[in-house]
Symmetry: C2
Subunit: 132 residues, 2 copies
DNA sequence: CTTCTTGCAAATTATTTGCATACAT
DNA sequence: ATGTATGCAAATAATTTGCAAGAAG
């Protein structure tokens, strides 16, 4: 995790990502940073977002809004889950208890759950066997 | 769910998707169908995959392989989850029991679990309230 | 000073679309 | 016959990259 250099652009991008209530896309961050740095380019935003993710300061939100394939950046880097509202298209963070996500708690909070999906990451049996 | 017309191309695409052990991308399906229909175009593959998903004959797998943002198509249209192997990059289907995914069962089967994420879809409290 | 980063523009990648022709019903 | 689907090529969208000039350590 070798840190990259700190620049005005990189700092502003991280601040914008942390400040956004939502889970912004690269171009949303581009727009919100242009006020402060009018000459910043979209390429710089993409490069710094990549670096910030590599450095563990931001995460990529593993969600896909239907018909919108842009990457979403997430200020929360601890393990947590997501609720995607199909009405307002907002992505809400969902904290995890000892026994995982509480669907009951979501419903009690007024969220209407239509479906969910779980993605598990790791090594399958044959790849785990090869790992010495 | 209004059915679209059946064509040689559409049928071959569905057959290829159902036959693939994996969760193929559009261009993988394109390649596997070219043997049978050498003149088929990639546009036709994309159009038919869209139709097949709309008709409920295929699903979009809600997974993202790091550094590969291509859409993955899934022959299984019932609710199920996914295991993404970070070694061989294969996506395995994970069936769901009464109480959700069994992480224990995965581990017993030799899968090494590094992380997981849950995405919940529905309406948030304020959107649910608006729904009359 | 030296190396990393920026801005700009051009390049890539994944996917979509317009249009004339071919095929399914 | 009629309307929808196809193949082809060009268009779009999201993201990446090469390079000369500028800023960071």
């Amino acid at each position: 995790v070798t840190e990259t250099r700190s620049t005005r652009q990189k700092d502003a991008i991280l601040r914008a990502a942390l400040a956004s209530a939502d889970h912004p896309t690269a171009d949303m961050i581009f727009d919100s940073v242009r006020g402060e740095l009018p000459k910043i380019s979209l390429g710089t935003v993409y490069r710094n977002l990549q670096r910030l993710v590599a450095e563990g300061r931001l995460a990529l939100a593993p969600v896909e809004l239907e018909g919108d394939s842009r990457a979403r950046f997430d200020p929360g880097t601890h393990p947590h889950d997501h609720f995607v509202c199909q009405g307002c298209k907002r992505i809400h963070d969902v904290e995890r208890g000892k026994s995982g996500v509480s669907f009951r708690a979501l419903e009690r909070a007024g969220f209407r759950i239509d479906s969910h999906s779980v993605s598990v990451y790791g090594l399958c049996a044959s790849c785990a066997a090869e790992e010495r």
